[in-house]
Subunit: 489 residues, 2 copies
């Protein structure tokens, strides 16, 4: 049998880790907090990357690459930025090892101390804006629309595979604009790109909103976010897009000559999503049998299992089906291992979240049928081999849509409109708390007090929040719109 998974009801955290481990997505490494992304997990990331990269290019961005290291002094140039990142960064202090003269193996060579320490990038605003100073002189150089795919390091003390790791992979867009309006448009455009990706590819519905001052990116004027709801009723911040105003341009003295020959500071945005998305993908769709993947991101979309085992006739039919499916751009594999029984293969394909399984037996061949099992609903049916390719293609689309709808329904069921602190707390005590729409007086003080009392944070002020007169659930002070509270990853 394929390794089993702890049921969600029993231990949700363990269920998550079991899926990551048993579906061969990632593992912990010998380096504290750093993960190894295994080939199957990386296959999901590659598909995410490809799609996002296409979307970035369609919106006019180009890729570039900036150094891994940031001089310590750069971090300090933007006051809030250094506050945000200095406490959890990897610091390079030396550039050579040597044999211990006392025979203690290999040690750091004290004579190879760097003049200035280097920080392994936790994010690249500082090194990039230091570079943009050389790239930008005139309005003709703007907008500058650049993205980078990279690894970054934040020395987190508590880590969890994909969701929070010391090193993670991400993309970070860094754009420069001539006006505040353009920077704001770009910030919102990229939030929308992320939301579209989350919904259309990950089948993970998200709330588009803006962060409160307290939850903003260190150095941003405004941080826009997409927030998803996981199956345990906790929120996941899945991507952020920051309007940086002129903060980094001022810190790094990046000015341009505008059309009227006047010098101005440049306006900036930055935006990123990371391998954390894989954690969100797992927790949105998977079940107690294992991973469930939306077809658009599944490394393998269809698996064909010979029943009870491969033989010449079954192999020939499988080859034929594979060729036809591949011709439609469908990613298909044939599980022709002779040593494993079909039951084992079924469980394995469920654990790996393969959207469609085709069971092909001797009797099927005689009857011109094939067994089709879908991973999302676990429905099985016997289908005619005639037209099976069309059927599978349609089924993949249905599964993609069903996963999104199911996740939307789940979110609706676990979204609550609440007007008192009692209700608020009662909902947070449920097994699956969810999103809470409540009034808030707009102060950081109240926000922090509620967090301290309940562990719930303001996830965002939704972009589409309606104006509505209300009273802050904690202080009773007037409020003009509801914000979304939740416990969060």
């Amino acid at each position: 049998m394929a390794s089993a998974v702890t049921p969600r009801e029993e231990d949700y955290s363990q269920w998550y880790l079991d899926i990551v481990k048993n579906a061969n997505l990632a593992s912990n490494s010998a380096v504290r907090g750093c993960m190894v992304i295994k080939p199957y997990g990386f296959g999901i990331w590659e598909r995410m990357q490809r799609q996002l990269d296409d979307m970035f290019k369609e919106t006019g961005h180009q890729n570039a690459y900036f150094p891994l290291f940031i001089p310590k002094s750069f971090l300090s140039k933007e006051a809030e930025h250094v506050e945000g990142f200095a406490k959890e960064c990897a610091v390079v202090t030396h550039h050579r090892l040597m044999n211990d003269p006392n025979g203690g193996g290999v040690v750091v060579d004290p004579s190879a101390k760097l003049e200035e320490e280097l920080i392994v990038r936790p994010t690249s605003e500082t090194i990039i804006w230091n570079t943009y100073r050389d790239w930008i002189t005139s309005y003709r150089d703007l907008p500058l629309l650049v993205n980078q795919w990279a690894n970054v390091v934040r020395w987190e003390m508590r880590t969890r595979l994909f969701l929070r790791t010391a090193e993670f992979l991400w993309q970070e867009g860094h754009t420069a604009h001539a006006t505040a309006e353009e920077a704001q448009e770009e910030t919102l455009q990229m939030q929308e790109v992320y939301a579209t990706f989350a919904e259309q590819y990950m089948a993970m519905p998200v709330i588009r909103g803006v962060k409160t001052a307290n939850e903003r990116f260190a150095g941003a004027v405004n941080t826009y976010t997409i927030e998803a709801l996981m199956q345990d009723g906790k929120a996941l911040q899945a991507g952020t897009s920051h309007n940086l105003g002129q903060n980094f341009a001022k810190a790094f003295d990046v000015k341009f000559q505008n059309e009227n020959n006047k010098e101005e500071y440049v306006w900036a945005t930055s935006w990123g999503v990371s391998t954390r998305l894989i954690g969100g993908l797992i927790m949105t769709h998977s079940d107690d049998e294992g991973l469930v993947l939306p077809p658009k991101l599944a490394p393998i979309q269809v698996i064909i299992v010979p029943i009870p085992k491969p033989n010449e006739a079954l192999n020939a039919k499988a080859e034929e089906l594979m060729a036809e499916l591949k011709a439609r751009g469908i990613r298909v594999q044939y599980d022709n291992d002779k040593k494993k029984r079909p039951g084992f293969k079924f469980a394995e394909s469920e654990l790996k979240g393969i959207p469609v399984r085709l069971g092909l037996g001797k009797r099927d061949l005689e009857n011109g049928t094939i067994e089709v099992a879908r991973r999302d609903t676990k429905e099985k049916s016997s289908q005619s081999l005639d037209g099976i390719i069309d059927h599978v293609e349609q089924l993949l689309e249905d599964i993609q849509n069903n996963l999104l709808q199911r996740a939307i329904d789940f979110r609706e069921e676990h979204s609550h409109i609440v007007d008192t602190m009692e209700e608020f707390q009662a909902i947070l005590e449920r097994d699956i708390p969810g999103f809470i729409y409540a009034h808030w007086d707009g102060t950081t003080e109240t926000e922090l007090k509620i967090k301290e009392m309940t562990k719930a944070t303001i996830r965002c002020i939704p972009n589409d929040a309606k104006e509505e007169d209300g009273k802050c659930i904690l202080t009773g002070k007037p409020s003009k719109q509801r914000v979304i509270f939740a416990k969060a990853y």
Copy 2:
């Protein structure tokens, strides 16, 4: 005018740097030895990556990702490996900064010292083989065919953009096999993949050969290489494929149960190419007007220039041509800048190495013609607009082939068969020395002595070297085959 380039004859090194800078490929950064790869340069790397990645997958490899950091103790486990890399590595010693209590800004927090220092990976054999111990137990787990796209750091003292930088981007394949024979097959297969890529995509002919013991990768049993000849007559090692024997399996205790239920150490290979290839690409084809790019790797393959400037009729025709070219998968741009004159645009397109330029003027439209300029030979001709799409498609293929043939011819002209030390030295004193085929007695002592005398190194023993009785050019001792000497990057 577009910025000019120093002629090769005047100062070859400056010519190279001028092209990198003026064609907007890369620049130095604020961090010693680390480069910024600009969007145009990164566009070339992306095309290289995509093609190589496809070739790796066609040969059965999958991508994965391993940590950036390597515990110091891991490096020491393979004795030669640590010798090779300890002297030039970035060492992380702390995980936090703090505000200087004496008001000196942000400083390293001494209380956040790591228990064990971490090395920023110079290459990943050690961390990967430490992981493979958990992945491999039986012959059924083999072969394990994994590749990683990553950044690595080697603290080089003398750096040059693309050719030698402290941080660079590369891919590193790490495979595990059940037998020595399979590992050797894989090593040679990947050398051949690299050679095919160099020749068919970069249009850069290479010699396939094996390194001498002295030039081997630290920890390898054998290092296979592809060696290219640059326009200044120096060799560039463009890619290497290592047969690692059981060295890393023994260092990290990675064993498997073979088909006869016996425990054995696993056999390994590793292989890599890096952003150094972009340096090789530049130095193989470019000229005194700027970059020359083979069409298969050019981010822009065709540029259309309106003459003397854009107008409605020219724009309409350009749009039509662009749509038709794009439909054939050709990467085309229209330079509709109104402020720059055609002469400037021509020079700029030459500097950027765009393979084909189409000049479209008012009279052309009347006559049904268009001016076609190819970057490689600088030939211009007037062509009928009828059938121009076919013509351009064919021309791109011709340019690709011509660049390869031209580079082969150059290499042939600068390859020398030499039997005495006098001849050997005379050739090395030429402006463009090239490859020297000479006999060598097979000892590291002689190899190093020749290097000391002449600065030339043995680039490789060619895979296809013929057996031939001869005498070592230095010692007169007997030799069975010629090896290739050259000055090298």
